[in-house]
């Protein structure tokens, strides 16, 4: 219990970020026309690909001899990249179609 309190104390700024982000996310999304639900979901999907940064850090910290960490990290970076790159490209493809016939 003590440890948890200490943890919250130490990271109080993070808790602020979390809470503000939650409200921000709700605020940003709630006025979306249903037309854009699919592209939006896809765009959000690409954004949570930020996990890739964690994967890069893990990979970059792994000692050269630690093959388990290297292989798993390698895999994690690939999967994260797939999420990010694929996500943004798919979203762009969807939205590109909205554009061209707009006139």
């Amino acid at each position: 219990m003590e440890a948890i309190w200490a943890f919250i104390q130490q990271h109080i700024d993070i808790f602020y970020i979390v809470i503000l982000s939650i409200f921000l996310g709700i605020e940003v999304i709630s006025r979306v026309p249903s037309v854009l639900h699919t592209p939006l979901m896809s765009g959000a999907n690409a954004i949570h690909g930020v996990v890739i940064i964690g994967a890069i850090i893990v990979m970059g910290k792994a000692e050269p001899g630690n093959y388990v960490a290297l292989i798993l990290g390698f895999l994690a970076v690939i999967l994260g990249t797939l999420n990010v790159v694929g996500g943004f490209v798919v979203t762009d493809r969807m939205l590109e179609m909205f554009k061209q016939k707009k006139k």
Partner: protein, 469 residues
Amino acid sequence: MQDSLLSIIYLVGSVTFIIGLKMLSAPTTARKGNLVAAAGMALAVFGTIFLYREGDTRLHNYGWIFSALVIGSVVGVLAAKKVKMTAMPEMVSMFNGMGGACAGLISIIEFNHMQHAGGAASVGMLLTIVLGLIIGSVSFAGSIIAWGKLNGKIKDKSFSGQHIFNLLILGVIVVIAAVLVGQFVPNLQTTLFYVLTALALVYGILFVLPIGGADMPVVISLLNSFTGVAAACGGFLYNNPVMLTGGILVGSAGTILTILMCKAMNRSLKNVLIGSFGGGSGSSAGGGAQQQGNYKEISINDTAVLLAYANKVMIVPGYGLAVAQAQHVCHELESLLEERGVEVKYAIHPVAGRMPGHMNVLLAEADVSYDKLLEMEQANSEFATTDAVLILGANDVVNPAAKTDPGSPIYGMPILEVEKAKAVIVNKRSMKPGYAGIENELFFQPKTSMLFGDAKQVLQQLATEIKQV
């Protein structure tokens, strides 16, 4: 200096995510918004690679990192470029699963690292690692099942008492996680950790497996927000603000999006997640009991004449259109009719297809003009002045039972009130009920005529006929 540069890069990254999401929610700025977020992501990724340092040590293993980045990018771009518009939902689900798996793997590596480092682990660290593992694994397994369901590889499956069984697994997961984080049995930490991983994967599978295919969009959206939270756990772990803001933003936005989707179907999230159990048998019993009245068929010729001499035609697209890849022929038919002076519009139900907005994307691909697509309320007010409604592979979204039959599983869902129009033509492949598995009395109404066949073939034939009328 480098540290503060990286902090600023992260700050810029977080801001681009917020602006990107904001811009994504308006049609005119959406595409730019996506690019803004992508640029922020690239900045954050390369900033991390070159500037990140822990104490005085920089990251190494650049060879591994870059080859993984290249492999991921090439495969990702190819997959995203090659996927058909109709398969978009399952592609999103697949990418989401990759993100979840990535979060899970990070947790596994960090846990191993911690075990090797020895000494007492901080509770906070352990908690975020375990949370990231559970949420990431559930999201990964669930997304893969959702992907399989949408492309028809996996059928709906449930066994009696599965609901309780699922809750039981979830309970066990919580207990093991608590033991693990509290470090009550220090010798068993590693074993418990892998048991937990396995259970989380099993839970992800069992969680999605019984949910009907029609509800997959809601599930994908929910899993999407799960992955967001898993990413945010990583942000906690590394004290990394972009991961944190990005993850939480997606977590909360995804949750809201999920709720919006449920609202469009007039169901609660609980109902979607739990209602599927047993709901299948109940609804089919109800459907079977309903009158199997007579329906009348209409020929291609007659349909062509009817449409060609109408003043106003409303097209109601559904999943059938997507499956048949008929969007281009549909646009061709629309142009032919317009040339003859017929006013053609599309009535888009918010949940038509397998994802909200699915139909819009599909029709946009075929160059159908944006202002021809009417949202539900607008369409409903125009049906009364419509001469002919052409329903292409849509079923549940035009089922009057949603308004009239309180016993129906879709009762209360807002529908397109096509029966207000003078004539209704329904194109379906057969009389089989739609995704919700219920009979549609619209098909037996005197105004309605059935035009059986694959949407694409039927539309092609219709187009040829109309040219000759």
